[in-house]
């Protein structure tokens, strides 16, 4: 069976140790988490985790069922097909010369990113988008020299009702 990425949106109880339980389950059952993001949900006392995992169909079924078994997990939905995907990325890029600075600012505009901080030597850019967009931006600015990257990992929501 072919392995592919799946995005699982999971509603969990907002309690200490829940992230550890979820991450531990993936590890114990031999599944790799590509990314996991956690934050408050629309319901008080419940958090939403968005997990991207690389698995085949059978693996995905096991992951879903094993997640469901965790008592702190309330609801699980595979939203891969109709998800709006977003990730936030901060990149600090070197400025080797004045020309470079202009070029980076141009890319920033094209990607609808924001400049958060500029110094003589570097420029910090904030960028949101799906994985591909962020990767594309990074490879464009790579020739200038990247000092640091911080990415949040993917969060996602299904379209429609």
């Amino acid at each position: 069976m072919e392995e592919q990425y799946h995005i699982i949106s999971t509603l969990v109880e907002d309690k200490p140790g829940v992230l550890q339980k979820v991450a531990g389950m993936f590890n114990r059952r031999g599944f790799n988490i590509d990314s996991i993001t956690v934050g408050n949900s629309e319901v008080e006392g419940q958090s939403r985790m968005v997990i991207t995992v690389h698995a085949d169909e059978k693996g995905l079924e096991q992951v879903t069922k094993q997640l469901n078994k965790l008592i702190d997990v309330i609801k699980i939905k595979d939203i891969t097909q109709k998800a709006v995907k977003r990730e936030l990325c901060l990149v600090k890029v070197n400025i080797p010369d004045v020309k470079a600075r202009a070029e980076i600012m141009q890319y920033t505009n094209i990607f609808r990113a924001h400049i958060l901080d500029v110094t003589e030597e570097s420029i910090m850019v904030e960028l949101t988008g799906d994985k591909e967009k962020i990767n594309a931006f990074i490879s464009l600015v790579e020739p200038f020299g990247i000092k640091r990257i911080a990415r949040t990992g993917l969060t996602a929501m299904s379209r429609g009702v």
Partner: protein
Amino acid sequence: MRGGEAIIESLKNMGVKTIFGYPGGQTIPFYDMLYDADIDHILVRHEQAAAHAADGYARASGRVGVCLATSGPGATNLVTGIGTAFMDSSPIVAITGQVPTHLIGNDAFQEADIVGITMPIVKHSFQPKNPDLIPSIVKSSFEIASTGRPGPVLIDVPKEVQEGELTGFDDSLIETPGYNPTVKGNIRQIKKARDLIREAKKPMILAGAGVIMSNACCELKKLAETINAPVMTSLLGKGAFDETNDLALGMLGMHGRKVSNDYVNESDLLIAIGIRFSDRTTGRLDSFVPDTKVIHIDIDPAEIGKNVEVDLPIVGDARNVLESLNKLLNDYKPSKEVNDWTDMIRQKKMELLPRVTYDDVPLKPQAVIKEIAEVLTPDSILTTDVGQNQMWAAHFFDTQKPRKFISSGGLGTMGFGFPSAIGAKVACPEDPVVSINGDGGFLMVCQELATVHEYDIPVIAIVLENRTLGMVYQWQSLLYNERHSQTLLGNSPDFVKLAESFGVNASRITKPGETKEALSKAIKDNEPILLDIVIDSEEALPMLPPGAGINEMIGEYKLEKDVI
């Protein structure tokens, strides 16, 4: 009321009469409050035994077993017992002391993150940070441990929470919106099962421990007899179906009965109930029932399709599902093909009965188990340790009733047999309790001889003494050119003297007939005793070598019909 008193009160509310435990620094407040409480506490001699005893109690009675240990090393000593209960879905509640909340995270004396350590081997865990939460947490722990697919629950109680005053006693269940076990089977799926059964010409049933846990044994019997299907069990399914019934084939798997292993792949429909298809039950998966339709009934959806591809899944409690299925099969009459198939299997079963008749000295383990079986009534409880002793007991002893065969299946924990027997005896004081052990595993927990002596718990501990770590020895003999690396135990200890030093009577048995005699006397005397039975160290059960299919056993399967 203080936190510790709330624990005791809550346990009493849950019907608990006995807990198994071992005190320590962070549980002193609790033990001080226990001093005046009307709840029995059995002081084991190692925390691991407390967990196994609680587990044995749970398996023998169907009620939740409770064990208690202090923080740090006390708690970590419970880990093997909690893991054992988790793998075999046994409902226990383990309560541990914890360092005071303000010291948590400081690497305080005897601090261990037991909630973190046990996370992958508990069904759920709690750490009350406030004494007011205790009644709800204890009640919820029992609820979670005993419903759905049962399992262990941990309650880690910081010292100051044990001492703190409650403002009231509110024991309403903690809300767990994510916990909704599916009890009732989907009726459309059950109807499909009926249809598959009607079409089947060569049906077989495979029953696991889930049948016992859901009290579905009567329904299973009804199903098997209605559809005239032979019944196999897993190791932990022993007792789900009376093994003296002529439809019973015995255990399937790595050390299973030959008739089960040889013929399971010939069935055209396998009805698997309350079972998780462990590798020890199925052998290599791609050669397990390759041409057979499989119906899988289990309360845990995650077990369905995990190991064996299933044609028809039914998620639900075994009893609930079987009740519905039996109703739908009211007018079912087995066809001639089904009857011919089952007659053929019955005949094969008789031909392939394993040999148990021997008069050799040193004693053959098969003959010892036979003598034990001749003495024990159907209500007697047999617990086993892990290894050859366990497989001999499972293979040669016919279990007739549920909750009468208790063994560590999933985790395969050496040292389980004796302490689990203590728990079983406390749960069922009227029934004789016999624990079958090897000399290796018994020595891991022999300190519990003090426990049975001090509390006068009349457990009959049998040590099948072959001076080897028999199962590993057997693998080395069969698969590693007889290089017996670290599996010879030498001559120490003298088990009779060992028992006597604890104040427990003991005798050594070396000849045919002596086991029967000593066991009958022990049951009559009704006091703790150790029977040290010296057996042939070269005796080995046939087995599936690693990677082999279910019908590819190696080693000679000796047959009773060949006895001259």
